[in-house]
């Protein structure tokens, strides 16, 4: 039993990271129908930026946090300006291809600047684990889960009560009418890319603090992708929940079957779920318009 619970808890912790990345996928997809295949790379890039800041500032927590925010805004703005905006009016598919190119580019740039070896994140907490009902929890894992919950609540409230958040949902339903309401769609895309980069950056720093900072952070993006599909690509909170599910399933598969199954378990789950619910657990079925 405690083996099972430990697996579940560890799954939740890694699932929270997946969930955050998946929220980023969903936010961008929601407003623009674009799947951003560079999500994991953006997480890695911002992770590295904050790593450099941590190195030079003796791991000052406020400065690391600030660097995540500044990094996310910078990355989001650059991508919107140089990749998304020039592609406006082009088929969505072309932009999706551009995000794949972007992913390759970020990986190359990160490799050039920081090299290919993983590092320990400066000041990463190695506090004694807390034991509860036989489950061992690192304080940083608990912190991660708290951040995950806070982000979910924050994003939910933003989409529900903030006019820009409402505009994102409106644009997902009918982008032409959003234009008629005076929404500047390019400004909306900018906000979406920044929020998505911000959440990815937070996930990146937490990941780096729990494990390490290295080029393999980018792979987390691919592992998180099933989470977004599972939750419904246009449902931000659904995607966040999908992350937890994928994390737990992966860990259980790794713990009870064989660690080799860990990587594919998430994809098996979406295969099954998509057969039953083609739009994911919480996805909106497109409403036909005449």
């Amino acid at each position: 039993m405690s083996y099972f619970l430990n697996l579940v808890f560890a799954g939740l912790a890694v699932g929270a990271i997946y969930g955050m990345l998946a929220m980023g996928y969903a936010i961008i997809y929601k407003v623009s129908r674009v799947v951003n295949f560079a999500q994991g790379e953006i997480m890695m890039l911002i992770g590295y930026i904050s790593y450099s800041v941590a190195l030079r500032t003796d791991a000052s927590a406020p400065l690391v946090m600030l660097s995540v925010i500044a990094g996310a805004i910078g990355v989001g703005l650059l991508i919107e300006r140089f990749i998304v905006r020039p592609m406006l009016g082009q088929p969505v598919f072309s932009l999706v291809m551009m995000t794949i190119a972007l992913a390759v580019m970020i990986r190359a740039v990160v490799g050039l600047i920081w090299g290919l070896d993983p590092y320990r994140f400066p000041g990463s907490a190695t506090g004694a684990p807390i034991e509860l009902f036989g489950v061992y929890m690192q304080p940083i894992q608990l912190f991660l889960l708290a951040v995950y919950v806070a982000l979910c609540v924050g994003v939910w409230a933003f989409l529900r009560f903030n006019i820009v958040g409402i505009a994102m949902r409106a644009t997902a339903t009918d982008s032409t009418v959003s234009l008629l309401m005076g929404v500047s769609v390019s400004r909306l895309y900018r906000v979406a890319w920044i929020i998505s980069a911000l959440i990815a950056g937070i996930a990146g720093v937490l990941f780096a603090n729990i494990y390490h900072i290295g080029p393999d952070l980018a792979h987390v993006g691919i592992r998180a992708f099933p989470a977004a599909i599972l939750g419904g690509l246009d449902s931000v909170l659904g995607s966040a929940l999908g992350g937890l599910i994928i994390g737990v399933v992966e860990n259980l598969a790794g713990g009870y079957i064989a660690s080799a199954y860990k990587e594919i378990a998430g994809f098996v789950v979406i295969l099954v779920i998509l057969m039953i619910r083609p739009y994911g657990l919480f996805g909106q079925k497109d409403i036909e318009r005449v």
């Binding site: 009016g89 006019i163 409402i166 505009a167 949902r169 409106a170 339903t173 009918d174 982008s175 032409t176 009418v177 959003s178 234009l179 008629l180 309401m181 005076g182 929404v183 500047s184 909106q284 409403i287 318009r289 005449v290």
Partner: protein, 272 residues
């Protein structure tokens, strides 16, 4: 907002030509004007180019690969053609699109708030209450998902949504489409009371010519992308050509919608 509206909030479309895909000419050499405090209607059968004109004014032809290729559109003395669609809304021009096009999975209130996207939050709250007082029926449904409302209620939301930004020019694309006569009457009463309330100019696109002319001050008739008649509403209602072709009053005295007239004409063409 209203107090800042320029006194001469008139719309002038001059010699407009609109092409889709660079070749399909949907509007050809069309000119018309709408003055503040008046309802002007654009009449015409399916495909006449009415919606295209409204899209050109709102600056949303781009996503449909359309473009204003000749002519000019000015509002309150300033050209609109260089503005983006959100800039045009900020100038005070709003349209209620054909088929209502509510954000179906947002609530009624969220739909209305979206209409006030360009105004400040405090102003938005004030406008919200005034829309509820114009359409009291909506108050009970404010937290319902808009897609589940009846057609008439949806049209009220669509008009209310457009009014949220206190427009100086309100454009309505076939507000009577698919609604029961009783509801249409209600909607049209609301439209004419808006005009009577003052500073707003209204451009009304309709297939239901008789109904539109009864509340309009002036009318233009479009046919295959060109203006073929224009005149005071009363003149148009009385003119024999209009009566025959657009009001369907020649042989049968009964009311016919333009759609019927059009089918009748098409049948005639096939028979010929």
């Amino acid at each position: 907002m209203l107090s800042q509206a320029p006194l001469n909030a008139d719309l002038h479309v001059v010699n407009a030509q609109v092409l889709y895909d660079g070749v399909v000419e949907a509007v050809r050499d069309v000119s018309f004007s709408v003055d503040a405090g008046r309802i002007v209607c654009l009449l015409g059968a399916n495909g006449a180019g009415k919606s295209t004109l409204l899209k050109a004014i709102s600056g949303i032809l781009g996503p449909e690969k359309g473009a204003l290729t000749k002519g000019s559109i000015t509002f309150a003395g300033k050209g609109l053609t260089a503005l983006s669609s959100d800039g045009i809304v900020r100038k005070g021009i709003v349209q209620v699109p054909e088929g209502r096009r509510l954000f179906v999975n947002l609530t009624v209130e969220e739909n209305l708030l979206m209409g006030g996207f360009t105004v400040r939050a405090a102003e938005r709250a004030v406008r919200l209450e005034s829309v509820y007082s114009l359409f009291p029926d909506l108050t009970d449904h404010r937290h319902r998902v808009a897609g589940y409302l009846s057609g008439g209620q949806q049209q009220m939301v669509a008009i209310g949504r457009a009014l949220m930004s206190s427009p100086s020019l309100l454009m309505l694309d076939e507000p009577s489409l698919g609604l029961a006569p009783k509801i249409v009457e209600q909607i049209f009463a609301a439209i004419s009371s808006l005009r009577d309330s003052g500073d707003i100019a209204i451009l009304l696109v309709e297939q239901n010519a008789r109904l539109a002319l009864t509340i309009s001050d002036y009318g233009y008739v479009l046919e295959r992308g060109r203006v073929v008649f224009d005149g005071d509403a009363a003149t148009l209602l009385g003119s024999p050509e209009i009566q025959e072709f657009y009001l369907g009053l020649d042989q049968s005295a009964g009311r016919k919608s333009l759609r019927d007239v059009k089918h009748y004409r098409r049948r005639k063409r096939w028979l010929a």
